[in-house]
Symmetry: C2
Subunit: 100 residues, 2 copies
Amino acid sequence: MNQVEVFKALGNKNRLQILNWLKSPEEHFVDYVPACGDVDVGVCVGYIQKKSGLTQSTISEYLAVLNRVGLVSATRIGQWTYYKRNEETIAALSNLMDTL
Amino acid sequence: MNQVEVFKALGNKNRLQILNWLKSPEEHFVDYVPACGDVDVGVCVGYIQKKSGLTQSTISEYLAVLNRVGLVSATRIGQWTYYKRNEETIAALSNLMDTL
DNA sequence: AATATATATCGGTATTTCCCGATATTCCAA
DNA sequence: TTGGAATATCGGGAAATACCGATATATATT
């Protein structure tokens, strides 16, 4: 995990917001239904885009940033890409903060 | 504490480095001596500047940034300004990470 | 094959950040 | 009170980031 890059990714209110929304999709996304039955793959780009009010390209870019630094993971299913939090990285970062 | 601003402050390898050096000044700064007897006021700008290799103005600016977001605190004594980690903010951030 | 939908990528402008040199300010010492 | 030392602030060029619209790509439907 690249600390500096992770912090940069977190240094933006919209990305921070997205990360927060993804904590409880059912609460934040009206139309949300767990995508693959029992396997939770997260939330598709379109939902996040609508809720954010930013453009599709911007959100796609932001999700790519979060994905690149490992804060979320992506799953492509058909024409949708689902993003969900990568709790491992987030936990690792949390631990790292204790030794910052 | 402004999360976004704190993360921005942390999203720079030099500032992250400084914060790390300040964890154990006696270990990182050759000439370091606790400035005010038993009261630890931290490390003066000059020491940090020399170790970093960056210019005086840049370091002064970086320390101001860290100070503004509450990651360090400053104490002016005579012609020196001493900076030390603000463990309260750092701990608060660490806790906040758990609920990120 | 043609079309529609979801997402990614590209190109661009405005803003911010990085880091510098020069200058100002503050305090101390002679 | 003049000079020197430590730090802060100012002005700026280069690079990165924020966010957009337009276009490309991939998949699904007909």
